[in-house]
């Protein structure tokens, strides 16, 4: 029963990792851009929520009403104003520009908020749990996080496969030059992809900030988890990314149960193992 519990907690944690990963995956899918600042943007969203909560006193989940549109707008501006200029045949510009961005965001947060650990207080939600049996209980919060991940991924799937915008995303991903021939303004489409990615990242950031402590330095680790979830799941498949997140979460939780120092390490090792035995991930869809 103890192990069931450990695996269940890990799987729920995986929902959060899938949320980290969905935006990264979307940006890569549409424009082959790997955003190294993704983790720091998640943390930035957490700080935005912190400011909203401090200014208005609303519940952290309610702060999403302000943070999501804010990050959406930031994403649009970031892509149109900066990242679009890095796209081309060379791999260095997008990589190094987003790497620079990561350092800039981290240090700006450090300057603005100090290195102190913060947390968003969610009141009763933090401790409430649902008993599933004698020794099995799941917290409401982890359950909500996982549900949010599943719902958001389902919505993204609907967007990608059932709407004109999603069609434009996929067509651009296949062949941006030809998509332009039929009226797809790719700069705008790229910007919308980044805007959406950051909107999802902001949900991830707020949920992260309710679940655990955060400080300006934790972005890169979130990037790595997101990246691992994407690669484990296989490029281009959002449900695969959710599965990748779950595998990562379970590996961490089982590793941590074996030895408290081994949780994160076990996650990384699971990722490297998948990389060695199935380099294209478990559920690949995209070629590239």
């Amino acid at each position: 029963m103890a192990w069931t519990n450990i695996i269940l907690q890990g799987a729920l944690l995986g929902g959060l990792y899938a949320l980290f990963a969905a935006g990264l995956s979307l940006m890569f899918g549409v424009m082959r851009l790997v955003n190294i600042a993704h983790g720091d943007l998640i943390v930035l969203a957490a700080y935005c929520a912190l400011m909203v909560v401090q200014a208005t006193g609303v519940h952290p989940l309610l702060s999403l009403v302000a943070v999501v549109p804010l990050m959406f707008a930031l994403g649009y501006a970031l892509q149109r104003g900066l990242l679009n200029f890095t796209l081309g045949h060379e791999i260095l510009p997008p990589l190094l520009v987003t790497f620079g961005l990561s350092v800039i965001i981290q240090n700006a947060l450090l300057e603005g908020f100090s290195a102190d650990s913060r947390r968003l207080q969610a009141g009763a939600l933090e401790t409430a749990s649902l008993r599933l049996g004698d020794q099995l209980a799941i917290g409401w919060l982890p359950a909500i996080v996982f549900l949010a991940a599943a719902v958001i991924i389902a919505l993204l799937e609907v967007l990608l496969y059932r709407t004109p915008l999603g069609r434009a995303f996929r067509a651009t991903s296949d062949d941006a030059d030809t998509a332009q021939l039929y009226g797809v303004g790719i700069r705008h489409v790229f910007a919308l992809a980044t805007a959406l990615a950051l909107a999802v990242a902001s949900v991830a950031g707020v949920l992260l900030a309710i679940r655990t402590n955060f400080d300006p330095s934790i972005g890169p680790a979130r990037l790595l988890y997101a990246f691992e979830a994407v690669i484990i799941g296989g490029l281009g498949s959002l449900w695969g990314t959710l599965a990748g997140g779950v595998i990562l979460g379970v590996a961490q939780s089982v590793g941590g149960a074996l030895d408290p120092g081994w949780d994160i390490l076990a996650g990384h090792l699971a990722f490297l193992l998948v990389l060695v035995i199935r380099p294209r991930g478990l559920f690949p869809k995209l070629v590239d």
């Binding site: 790997v34 190294i36 260095l92 190094l96 620079g100 790595l224 690669i231 994160i264 390490l265």
Partner: protein, 351 residues
């Protein structure tokens, strides 16, 4: 007419550069006579930063391997040095050399895994690997676990009895590492493998079609860069006298700064990282009192350079003047009028 061309590498500028380098070298050799201990420490840091920058440039600028995980090998080198001296009781100098080898050797199995990823994914993959090493070393009790350990006085004494002598030894070691790396990269780029490297950078498929073994060249470069990082780690933590997983595997100290140096100075040339190192340390001295603003400025500068002048400051300065201090490219020039501005020929064409 066709015979009236001559292929050469050295130019007036490169001969002048050789002279300048010799002069600078003499000045550096003489530095300990004038500078105090703090100066020497700074000089060592400049030297190993230059070494890391050259190694990263070899990876990213010439081989297309954009790693953000070089801190893995700095950390491994540092820890190998501590393990060899403290646990195995080896004398410091051989341990230093061995630490570099250990890092290079560990790079090979690592390459086997991370080379499955390409482009930006390779970059993040190397970062994951560095994290794995950091977390593993944090689990090693004999090496101090998560809190790290100090270098015992006995080991320090083993290097040299007096503080002054130790400063001197680390200084010359640093100088050797910095200059040695520059020369290594220089001669490597002029060799057959060097040509292969440029070919890989310019097009992997083209290089493959003319029979250059991409994979072996990539493995070799990756291991060499790791070896240089390992030596850097050993030297840096010998000087700091203390090592911990967080310091040894810091992405900021050992990779971010190095990337900024190379990008700002100019990627894909030997001169770029040298210029970048100078700019980096000048900026650091200038902005020392501004805390996080210093790194924000540095990051913004690197972003601006990448977008506006991807060849870096060296490209901005040297391109219009046709300057090249380290002539790795062959130039084609007419024999009868050697003064005319040389046309840079594509490197593959020489020999």
């Amino acid at each position: 007419m066709a015979a009236a061309w001559r292929i050469e590498r050295s130019t007036a500028a490169s001969r002048a550069a050789l002279f300048a380098v010799a002069l600078a070298f003499a000045a550096l050799l003489a530095l300990p006579a004038r500078g105090d201990s703090g100066d020497l420490r700074l000089a060592v840091e400049i030297c190993y930063s230059l070494a890391l920058a050259q190694a990263w440039n070899l990876l990213a600028g010439y081989t297309g391997l954009v790693s953000v995980g070089q801190q893995a090998y700095v950390g491994l080198g540092g820890y190998a040095f501590f393990a060899l001296t403290v646990l195995a009781g080896m004398p410091p100098l051989p341990s230093l050399a061995l630490a570099g080898l250990v890092a290079a050797a560990l790079a090979l199995p690592t390459a086997f895994v991370v080379f499955r990823l390409h482009g930006a994914y390779f970059a993040i993959g190397t970062w994951v690997v560095a994290e794995v090493f950091r977390l593993l070393l944090a689990q090693m009790r004999p090496l101090g676990g998560g809190t790290g350990m100090s270098l015992p006085v006995a080991v320090v004494r083993d290097l040299a009895q007096s503080r002054g002598a130790r400063d001197l030894i680390t200084y010359y070691l640093g100088l050797g590492l910095g200059l040695g790396t520059v020369l290594l990269v220089f001669f490597w780029l002029r060799s057959r493998q060097g040509l292969a490297l440029t070919a890989i950078r310019d097009s992997e498929t083209a290089a493959a079609s003319v029979g250059i073994d991409n994979r072996r060249t990539k493995f070799a470069v990756y291991a060499i860069a790791a070896g240089i990082a390992g030596l850097t780690g050993a030297l840096a933590f010998l000087e700091k006298l203390r090592i911990s997983p967080d310091a040894a595997f810091s992405v900021g100290d050992w990779t971010a700064n190095v990337i900024f140096i190379v990008v700002i100075g100019g990627i894909g040339s030997i001169e770029g990282p040298i210029l970048g190192t100078i700019v980096f340390f000048a900026l650091r001295a200038l902005l020392a009192d501004y805390g996080a603003w210093y790194l924000i400025t540095l990051g913004a500068l690197a972003v601006a350079v990448m977008l506006l002048a991807p060849q870096g400051l060296w490209g901005v300065v040297a391109r219009p003047l046709g300057l090249q201090f380290f002539p790795v490219q062959r130039r084609l020039r007419p024999l009868n009028s050697p003064q005319t501005a040389p046309e840079a020929a594509s490197p593959g064409r020489g020999d």
